[in-house]
Point group: C2
Chain length 426, copies 2
């Protein structure tokens, strides 16, 4: 039995038909991601689409390199069926990140598995933007060449930058920790890569890290989550009511510049009192070690430097322990503001907070309860990210995959453009 | 030409059909609200529904007392047509508010016009909750009796309270400025009103005030807005990406308890440093006038007391002017945190901030620019509410109307239950 249509607003019937086809392709593809491989018959039963439609949709998804067929184990009754599953071999998404101490590139296949990952320690804050982007371009070209050699098609690239970015324009407006103002990142990377046929996007690193955390939770994800990046800057990626919070001009989540410590040290943005001046990586390092200590050398790998800080804390180094206690205190003060305002189910601490979690976790939840108005901190759980410093690059690749799951027609069929769907197979 | 259906998830065909009917009733009713009275033919052309369906939908909406017919002016060509318009005579929604210094009840008709409004000055914080609710019940009964006399049907009531509320349970968990803990507001009001046949809801006052601001903007409303209530407490109602921010447990928007002033005066919640202890009405009054000054007497009408403060400021009273300057300073410090975090297009200051706006507006926008990381304060405009102290009650009534516009079948036909829609008229 068929349900009657909910009328679409548009009065262009052809466009409506494509919209419906796209929607149904998305339903099938997302179902295979969330529920795993299954037969056409089961896809039809579970999605409510009829079998002929499912067959037509699957054929198109195969054409586009998004799903494949596999022989099933013999069924208990009847002949063995063909199983449909996501194709992990032909289509990938690329994420990249520019941060203060490193560049990174990460490739995910359609199943969300990491195909490759590369991080380069680099003191980007002391380099010209053009030089940083040239190094990122080289890192990307190497990864893309390996993909091409294996006949794997990238369907998009997202670049993460810590700062205010124009998602639509591809321009970084302001990234004080990098010292960047109005840098046309997307145009430059497109030029270096020889104007690739897929979209190249730009986004804020904290937003992308929050997406990576959400994706990592699978289909039963939190609707209300805050991810705090922990690097030189502190960014906030907020998912509220199931949506990524972007704000009117795309500048939401600038939690690092909340004034939490009147008269505190000067921030990279020029103000005093900013949260990231109290709890950013540089604040920790300045408090934990003297100026020429190698743990403060941004040309060395950040994970190795953090491991060394961890070793010193474990050995009882009083300066390091005092620095971590101070960080944990200001971390709670700012986090409590966010928990009062957003009441998330989950507050995820990423970056260096996660790397040094044994000395930061301590009484974090108890302290938070003291500072949050709602009882038991409003039910907010605190967790440490397990994605390390590649969270933003991973989120960038995830975002590209998300677009594909929402509209599988973004991926061209291997043999060229797919014919407009016939009404019979909508 | 008909578009093919987007499959609904449910496989219950009957339920789907009702869902579609409900959706289409909502489309027609909302269209009449947003675009004004018009003919059936024009409704059909503009919504994309066919004429027979529109006629059937309009007949059902007439039956439910939601729309009426009016003779149109003679058309330039052909005979005069019948116009369909929202019925403002038969269906109303009721909002009520319990706050520190007053109770209020406000009735809106379907067009959003105020049918009646009543505020009662009352020192609620010094009264037992049961007594406060008895007074509110009396105020409501009076308003409802007047409606009944005029054969006007209330379709729902929402009660606003400043504090942590259980929207689903109807219980106020914690309202420190009222001194309330775990008060079953909805159950008590239902009892007083004799268990009415319509829904009685509870919500946070700031959330409801934000809804009232959004409704006041008409169909082209802001997708990202923050409303700050200005009473003894400071509540935040946040609309982000077009959705009211509620948080995981419904406790979002507790901006009054952000720690912005270390070592500041003690807050009603027992902590120090809370924003509302620095900028709440009591902070202003304590700074502006000696203890037994009548402007500090909560049993007098708050608007009259604020008018007196305004008179003194206008006359150059140095104590009042210094108090207002101090308030404006801390207002910016907290507001900047919210603007950094949410990047709203609009920050609306309500309650006493609006009443005393001539002395608060001053350099507010310039100051905000200094404290916000994004240039030009991220484009956020500051505005003062024009809804006065009835914003929350109005938002409560608006919320009920919203439910009706989303699902017009919530309003029973005057003659009893409406028969299940026939497939032909979906």
């Amino acid at each position: 039995m068929r349900s009657r249509p909910v009328r679409l607003r548009s009065r262009n019937a052809a466009a409506d038909q494509l919209t419906v086809r796209r929607h149904n392709l998305s339903v099938v593809l997302s179902h295979l991601r969330d529920r795993g491989p299954r037969s056409r018959a089961r896809l039809a039963a579970e999605t409510g689409l009829n079998k002929a439609t499912v067959s037509s949709l699957v054929a198109e998804l195969v054409d586009r390199g998004l799903v494949g067929e596999g022989e099933a184990e013999p069924a208990t009754v009847g002949r063995p069926g063909q199983y449909i599953r996501l194709d992990g071999e032909h289509v990938v998404a690329v994420g990249a990140e520019v941060n203060i101490d490193y560049l990174s590139v990460l490739v995910l296949n359609l199943r969300g598995d990491v195909v490759s990952e590369k991080r380069l320690a680099l003191d980007t804050a002391r380099m010209e933007p053009a030089l940083v982007l040239a190094r990122l371009g080289r890192l990307l070209s190497q990864a893309l060449k390996r993909l091409e050699k294996n006949d794997i098609r990238p369907v998009g690239l997202t670049i993460a930058v810590p700062g205010l970015v124009g998602v639509g324009t591809g321009i970084v407006h302001e990234a004080p920790n990098l010292g960047w103002t109005d840098v046309a990142v997307v145009a430059e990377i497109r030029r270096i890569l020889g104007d690739p046929p897929y979209p190249v996007l730009l986004d804020n690193e904290a937003n992308l890290a929050a997406l990576a955390e959400i994706e990592g939770q699978g289909p039963d994800r939190s609707a209300d989550l805050i991810l705090l990046t922990g690097a030189a800057g502190i960014g906030g990626g907020v998912v509220a009511g199931g949506q990524l919070l972007r704000g009117a001009a795309g500048f939401a989540g600038e939690v690092g510049h909340m004034r939490v410590r009147a008269g505190g040290p000067r921030c990279g943005c020029g103000r005093r009192g900013c949260w990231e001046a109290a709890v950013g990586l540089n604040a920790l390092l300045a408090a934990a070690a003297p100026e020429h200590d190698p743990v403060r050398d941004p040309s060395l790998d950040v994970e190795k430097r953090l491991a060394e800080i961890g070793n010193r804390a474990r050995a009882g180094d009083p300066r390091v322990l005092a620095a971590l206690t101070e960080i944990a205190h200001w971390l709670v003060v700012g986090a409590a503001i966010l928990v009062n305002v957003f009441n998330p189910s989950l507050l995820v601490l990423g970056g260096y907070f996660a790397a040094l979690s044994p000395w930061i976790a301590g009484s974090l939840h108890d302290e938070l309860r003291l500072h949050v108005f709602a009882g038991d901190a409003g039910g907010t759980r605190v967790a440490f990210s397990t994605l390390g410093f590649s969270a933003s690059a991973r989120g960038g690749a995830s975002q590209v995959l998300d677009h594909v799951f929402q509209d599988p027609t973004l991926v061209e069929p291997a043999g060229g453009h797919h014919p407009v769907a016939q009404e019979e197979s909508v």
